[in-house]
């Protein structure tokens, strides 16, 4: 495909050129093992320490609180199962119905192993029911896991407030911040968050590297036994180039945070306005007041998401859908269903997620092509009179 308009950044992002430059030497000449006793390996160890510091700076925490993992999913698994393992007398996890499968299927598997799981619901805009959350926390609860920002709708939860409620009950608090890091400002030093997950490939680092932030003093069982790497919490020789890349990506994210919340937000708003004006019978999913600056989830009634994506694909436009058909599942997105979005709209939902690499020309191109695609599919639809 010659020209691609990439608006699927909540799925994964382009690796920044600066990041590639930073990691390249560690794929070629500087291949030492950071645990080695010679300077050849030692120089790599120093670079990892630098990366750890860069991540800590972005999150507003201490470098010792950063644990490198292989992906967001590993971080989520480690946080939840590692906490349960260190509180053997507590058998309950509180989470939400709109979590990413990395958390949700982990919890549902725990349920089969005798744990009890409470999933908190959301309202039509995807906002969490904080009263229900408070109500569900009890003495049996080992951990509460609530995502910072939703990957499908971009809805942001009031995480500091939630952390306060959970910590007030003496319960460990984990947040899946995979979609939040790099898109909105965060400062862990001033929060009550104990554990936080992030994934490199969502903020312009490559795939295969993630982070679990573990607040000092938090009890967490070793998840991967092995060598002394990562303070003995996670054995295994480090993904050196990945970690170095993530460090650089975090530094860049810090620099671009302002742009993300001004220019990228303006592009997203422009796209939203044009789509709403250009296509009849469509609506925005998610909390439009508290939403990631890059995410737009819109439902087109009477047509199906996969069909829309394939037609957009013909124009080189990359987006994603919460429709059942795209995943091979038979039911549409669990997030939209939890919000009570009618099935008619859930099947026709499309997510555009932008990044700092998108331009206004691209936004205008998409907004220009979309009405035609929607119109064509509606001509095919038995639910639209023509």
């Amino acid at each position: 495909m010659d020209s691609v308009i990439y608006m699927d950044n909540n799925a994964t992002t382009r690796v920044a050129d600066e990041v590639v430059q930073e990691m390249l030497p560690y794929l070629t000449e500087k291949y030492g093992n950071p645990s080695s006793m010679h300077t050849f390996g030692g120089q790599v160890g120093k670079k990892i320490a630098e990366a750890r510091q860069r991540v800590a700076t972005l999150l507003g925490c201490h470098p010792e609180e950063i644990l490198f993992t292989s992906c967001g999913t590993e971080s989520d698994n480690t946080a939840i199962k590692g906490t349960l393992a260190s509180y053997p007398n507590k058998r309950k996890v509180v989470t939400t119905r709109v979590e990413h499968p990395a958390v949700l299927t982990t919890c549902r598997d725990l349920e089969r192993h005798g744990y009890s799981i409470s999933e908190i619901g959301v309202d039509r805009a995807g906002r969490l029911d904080l009263d229900e959350l408070g109500f569900r926390l009890d003495d049996n609860t080992a951990i509460a896991s609530v995502m910072w920002a939703n990957n499908e709708t971009g809805t942001i939860f009031p995480i500091d407030q939630i952390a306060e409620i959970v910590k007030g009950r003496g319960i460990v608090f984990h947040t899946d911040a995979v979609q939040a890091v790099g898109k909105i400002p965060l400062n862990l030093r001033e929060s009550h968050i104990d554990l936080l997950s992030l994934a490199g490939h969502k903020l312009h680092a490559p795939k295969g590297v993630g982070v679990l932030y573990v607040r000092k003093g938090t009890r967490l069982s070793t998840f991967m036994h092995g060598g002394h790497q990562e303070g003995g919490k996670r054995g295994g020789t480090e993904n050196v180039p990945g970690i170095i890349a993530l460090g650089k990506a975090c530094e860049l994210a810090q620099q671009h945070l302002e742009e993300e919340n001004t220019r990228v937000r303006a592009l997203r708003d422009r796209l939203q306005k044009k789509i709403l004006a250009g296509c009849p019978d469509c609506m925005i999913n998610g909390d439009t007041r508290d939403r990631l600056p890059n995410t737009l989830n819109v439902s087109f009634e009477y047509i199906e998401g996969e069909a829309i994506l394939l037609m957009l694909n013909k124009f080189g436009i990359c987006a994603s859908s919460g429709s059942a058909c795209t995943s091979g599942a038979l039911e549409p997105s669990h997030v939209l269903r939890a919000m009570g979005v009618p099935f008619t709209a859930a099947h026709g939902s499309i997510r555009f997620s932008l990044s700092r690499y998108n331009t206004q020309e691209e936004v205008d191109f998409v907004a220009d092509k979309l009405p035609g695609v929607v119109h064509r599919l509606r001509e095919l639809s038995p639910f639209v009179a023509t």
Binding site: Y302, I303, E304, E306, A307, L310, M311, K314, S323, A324, C325, T326, G328, A329, L330, E331, P332, F343, T344, H347, E379, L380, S381, P382, F383
Partner: protein, 292 residues
């Protein structure tokens, strides 16, 4: 991303016969907005009872649109009897294949066609073909036991997951998985049984006595009942080497197609059950045969 064949993409991007025939002879509607796919099929017959015009409207993914589109091409010019014989597998083959998880799109096409044909009979002949719909097994997707048995039978499915791919049953809460497994067992069990009856395991080498016994057994069990049903009969006269000598009586003996019956039915059956190199000959000097 789905690996769609070129044919699927072609029918999706350039769907044939989109629309709704206002004065249709038959209208079939299946699926719903809630399920994620739905199809309305309409057709009109010509003076000879052939499908002269057929149109569709589909809400769904690329494979749902492509299945509907290719189906309209397939049925145009067919009589309703011919069209009724189309299975979801025929649709899949015409498309050059569908991903496993998308098989239900082809089933939906077939069901819409069936519904449209039933609608025709209901309107024009004032009679609804008393097609039992069966009992709902999967409440999540409203799929009945008969529908499940049909896809299991026609596509030779053996697992619950496959059934879900073909007709969606079991794809929601999962509460119906046990019942689906039972239905698979029922259908596959019947199949195994009938196949065992139909196809006795053939010994690799037969002694002459064994061969004669097997020929006799096959004639008794497989051939004679069928001939008797048509008013005829068959008798084994002799077996010499690979030549089986039989006498045909009654209807068959007088029938001008006796040759044809001999060759095609008796020999084929004996070859299937006994040995591939058998030759069947008719003893002609039976009374009545010479008069022909």
């Amino acid at each position: 991303m789905w690996d769609y064949t070129q044919n699927v993409m072609d029918h999706f991007m350039n769907p044939r016969n989109v629309g709704f025939i206002e004065d249709a002879d038959g209208v079939g509607e299946v699926g719903s907005l809630a399920c994620g796919d739905a199809l309305t099929l309409t057709f009109r017959l010509d003076g000879q009872g052939r499908i002269a015009d057929v149109k569709f409207k589909t809400f769904g993914c690329a494979s749902a649109v492509a299945s509907s589109s290719v189906l309209t091409e397939m049925v145009r010019g067919m009589t309703l009897e011919e069209a009724a014989k189309i299975t979801n597998q025929d649709i899949v083959s015409r498309l050059g294949g569908l991903p496993d998880q998308k098989m239900h799109c082809s089933v939906m096409g077939q069901e819409a066609l069936e519904a449209a044909i039933n609608d025709y009979y209901k309107r024009k002949k004032g009679m609804a073909p008393t097609q039992p719909r069966g009992n709902i097994v999967c409440t999540c997707f409203g799929v009945t036991d008969l529908e499940i048995k049909k896809v299991v039978h026609e596509n030779d499915l053996t697992t619950v997951e496959e059934v879900t791919n073909y007709c969606k049953a079991g794809g929601g809460c999962g509460g119906c998985h046990g019942r689906i497994a039972e239905l698979i067992e029922e259908v596959q069990g019947e199949k195994v049984r009938t196949e065992a009856e139909k196809k006795p395991i053939r010994p690799v080498r037969l002694t002459n006595i064994q061969k004669i016994q097997l020929v006799q057994q096959t004639i008794n069990e497989q051939i004679r009942p069928a001939l008797r049903a048509d008013g005829g009969d068959i008798e084994l006269i002799d077996v010499e080497g690979n030549t089986v000598l039989v006498a045909l009586r009654g209807m068959c003996a007088q029938c001008r197609l006796a040759e044809f019956t001999m060759k095609d039915v008796v020999q084929a059956r004996l070859r299937e059950f006994v040995s591939d190199d058998l030759i069947v000959e008719e003893q002609k000097d039976t009374p009545g045969a010479s008069e022909a």
